[in-house]
């Protein structure tokens, strides 16, 4: 009897010790706080893609903290500048994981750069939620650790654009211009899936992101006599193409992908209003930037950053994109329960399905699904007025193991 009691006591003690040891192995978790690492471009030529997105994520975490935190723990965040550069981004991730000992990561605004962190994150088994990067190359093939495309994946960007062109603008032939890199290839793969389903012909031109003279690709697209022109590039080549279209008297609809709309006011300044006579922009949010449905987010920004809000061009176009990824992180931590571990959080993420109220589609993951949002809306834009077009357009692209 005595031996049994001693054995039971020892088992309890051993169990307690083991659970304490397990708790101690989780970095970034204390009784009162959960430490997370945020990174994005806070400087450099691509800061418009992420500076205010980081601000949005921070203000959402601050809001959660004011409301009592997660199971009694406050979110403590550490922010690093990745400049949208692969080397800087990997350095930021390593610093956050190894030096700052964060529990999980929430960052990245540029698709090509975030892919560079994939191997490190997977090797170190750190839960990583992208900020607003699509990072399709890091999302597929799916891993247990990387979740993203809270704004939208590049596969879905291209596919949803083709859907809109075919269904709303009755396009039979689409002129399609993308970058000649991995980012452009993801776009094109999504577009081809939807073009095949809609029986639409794609005339494709791929250009270097650093192109200076877009005359040749534009003339080749025009020679294909497209009903609609889709521009799926970053802001600079996009502006050059819109300008060239106006210069050469092209007057059919032009649709600009969300990746090319970093600053709409600057776009107008660069191309001039007459170039935007028949012009549509893709938007992955539930409403146009600053629209009625997004008013609470913009009000939150004004309260959190009064100095920035007073400056022209702030908040930047992509600001609200930071909210859904922060929501997803908070929700995963809540669902993981009062004693979160990285593995519990990852399991919670795989089952996540919620409406952010910010983006056009639901945030939904699954066993093989790592891109949260696949839906977009479209807005007619004449340089002054934004007119949201009816409907939400969703890409058909899904991951298939090769």
């Amino acid at each position: 009897m005595k031996a049994k009691t001693i054995g039971a006591s020892l088992s309890v003690v051993a169990g307690l010790l083991m659970s304490m040891a397990a708790g101690a192995q989780e970095p970034g978790i204390t009784e009162k706080s959960i430490k997370i690492g945020i990174f994005g471009p806070l400087s450099g030529p691509n800061m418009a893609y992420g500076f205010d997105v980081v601000n949005a994520a921070k203000m959402y975490y601050d809001k959660i903290n004011k409301e009592g935190g997660i199971h009694g723990r406050k979110i403590e965040y550490v922010v690093e500048d990745d400049r949208c550069n692969a080397n800087d981004l990997v350095a930021a991730v390593k610093k956050l994981v190894e030096q700052e000992q964060v529990f999980m990561l929430n960052g990245g605004s540029c698709s090509a750069a975030v892919v560079a962190a994939k191997d490190y994150v997977v090797r170190n088994k750190v839960p990583y939620l992208m900020l607003n990067a699509s990072g399709d190359g890091a999302l597929y093939p799916p891993t247990d650790y990387i979740f993203g495309a809270f704004s939208i994946s590049q596969y879905a960007v291209g596919g949803a654009m083709v859907e809109f062109a075919a269904k709303s603008l009755n396009a039979k032939t689409i002129g399609y211009i993308n970058h000649d890199d991995a980012y452009g290839a993801w776009n094109l793969e999504g577009s081809q899936a939807d073009a095949a389903t809609n029986g639409v012909k794609l005339a494709v031109e791929s250009v270097s992101p650093s192109i200076n003279d877009v005359t040749a690709p534009f003339l080749k697209l025009r020679a294909a006599n497209p009903d609609v022109l889709l521009i799926v590039t970053y802001a600079r080549p996009a502006a050059l193409l819109v300008k060239k279209a106006a210069e050469l008297g092209y007057n059919k609809p032009i649709i600009l992908s969300v990746t090319g709309t970093a600053s709409l006011s600057q776009l107008v300044e660069n191309v001039g209003k007459p170039a935007l006579k028949n012009f549509y922009i893709q938007e992955v949010m539930v409403d146009s930037p600053g629209g009625e449905k997004l008013k609470p987010i913009y009000d939150m920004y004004k309260a959190a950053y009064p100095d920035l809000a007073a400056k022209p061009d702030h908040p930047q176009t992509y600001m609200p994109y930071g909210i859904p990824s922060a929501m997803s992180l908070v929700k995963a931590l809540q669902d993981a329960g009062p004693n979160p571990t990285r593995e519990k959080v990852l399991e919670a993420l795989k089952k996540q399905d919620f409406d952010s109220g910010v983006m056009a589609g639901r945030m939904k993951f699954g066993p093989e699904e790592r891109a949260a949002n696949k839906s977009t809306i479209f807005i007619k834009y004449d340089g002054t007025t934004m007119t949201p077009q009816p409907g939400v357009f969703t890409s058909r692209w899904t991951y298939k193991a090769k």
Binding site: D180, K220, A235
Partner: protein, 300 residues
Amino acid sequence: MDLQLALIFLQQGIASGLVSGSVYALLALAIVIIFKTSEVPNFAQGEVFMAAGYIALYLFVFQQMPIWVVLPATLVAAFLAMALFRRIVLDQVAKSAKDLVYLVIATLGLSYVLKGLVRRTGFGDTPRSFPALVPTDSVMIGQASVTVLDLTILGTALAVMAAFFWMFNYTKIGRAMRAVGMNPKAAQLVGVDLGRCHMLIWGLSGVISAIAALLISPKILMTADMGSIVMLAFAAAIVGGFSSLPGAVVGGFVIGIVENLVGLFISSRAIVLAPFLAILLVLVIRPQGLFGGKLTIKKV
């Protein structure tokens, strides 16, 4: 591709190529005049071009200064920056290290400094357009569409090149510069002030770069990385023959036209490769470039 379309592509390719080529030619000219007199390939030429563009943008758009102030102010700033760089930095480097490679490294240093300075101002973080000073309405030349701005770019570039050729061939200072290029010691012996001549040459190369920036900035959108266009100017200089001023000009036009024709007749993806293919072709057929002199072998 039918014949009619091929003809349109050919005409448009040549017209657009002449416009962009004129800017490559100006930058190539700036590179070659320095190389001929200092034997230094100036790797900061692109950043000088970029920084001059941003000075003009700052004065004209952000300070709302009249254009008749902005243009000379930009040219003077470019001249002074390059002349002083030659006088203060390169002369010092040349004194402490005899090897030319250190001068090349100093120009690389200047390129990083200029790019860093523009980024620090914040202006280089967003692609911007320098307002066109002439209309951008289209005009048809044959079946090619160009704008009034395009014609202005080409015309101005040709005028600037002609002015520089005239100066080099018919003025006292131009002859002095050529003499320095041919034999610096002999030039010094006949009374040419080498230091002053080098400052003038570097200053003039800054002015040419600034003119190129003012011409092309309304078309290509300005970023802190816009100086990378200098790679095409180097390509133009190599194609033309690195020591030949007319070669630099012809090389610029060749690169501009080849870029467009390759994009139109082969693939848009191949546009970035076109200049390097042109270099390879020229080097295989005529290693000294189209206008380079006879090949000489230096004993070392």
